[in-house]
Assembly symmetry: C2
């Protein structure tokens, strides 16, 4: 299957929020994101990886705009207390960079190439989320231009 990478996009109006140690049981994701939806907060990435402890808790990571940060923090602090989580991390020193295309699946080298481009530029990948049409990474905010150039170079050899 032919993979067509259409472009490299970026977004620097991003804040990463991590709720540490939410109960890993049905209803929790709903609770968190319905509270944000109720406040009309746009959520971009949502990333939940695996339970990393013997207790039934898991970290929930998502991104919102820098403008919504204040309001989000208030909502999440409340939820965090109610769920007795291990804490909340707010990191606005991030930017999102994505390789966008079609038919990502069936082309194992695409993600490797994108990660390789960032590695070559010495840029650490902090969060990864993928879909059939995109590979998105959160990186340090001030590296975003470098990152876009590196990935673009890798796929389009300008």
């Amino acid at each position: 299957k032919e993979f067509i990478i259409r472009g490299v996009t970026h977004d620097d109006n991003v804040t990463k929020i991590a709720i540490l140690g939410v109960p890993d049981q049905p209803g929790i994701a709903y609770k968190i994101f319905s509270a944000l939806a109720k406040a009309n907060i746009d959520v971009d990435m949502i990333v939940q990886s695996i339970r990393n402890s013997d207790q039934n808790v898991i970290d929930m990571v998502f991104t919102v705009t820098k403008t919504d940060l204040h309001q989000v923090k208030a909502i999440i602090d409340d939820i965090g207390k109610e769920m007795e989580t291990l804490g909340v991390i707010v990191d606005d020193n991030v930017a999102k960079v994505s390789a966008v295309g079609a038919g990502m699946l069936g082309n194992p080298g695409i993600a490797a190439n994108m990660f390789g481009a960032l590695a070559k530029a010495g840029i650490n990948i902090e969060v990864i989320s993928t879909s059939e049409i995109s590979i998105s990474c959160l990186i340090q905010a001030d590296k975003v231009t470098e990152a876009v150039n590196a990935i673009h170079q890798c796929f389009f050899k300008d």
Copy 2:
């Protein structure tokens, strides 16, 4: 912005692989996924959330087909030893369910609704990965039909 959810998809030919405690430094994601690409392994989801420890390590989670599992395990076990990771988890008791549409961003309620549908069906969400056009969840394998029906019901009220 109008969100159009086009459908609910699922995939039960899925195995979840987690490499626990990989070094969180440039070049690591490249190393893992170029090794898989070299062996022509198709990787579907890649999910990396946040560092969950004071040491500079992080968990890398991805999915491959059940058919590739054997070969993937061999590759990842080698990489794991070389990187001195904390271990590898292989879980083939999972299936993937996705809500697919357009313009996900700008519609905070969509993810909440999907998570709510799963919660109402008592289905635990194990992994989450999103993009502008899709919200994907890994759930227990034998819940996939129930999950698809629940999400479909929620969005299409059949």
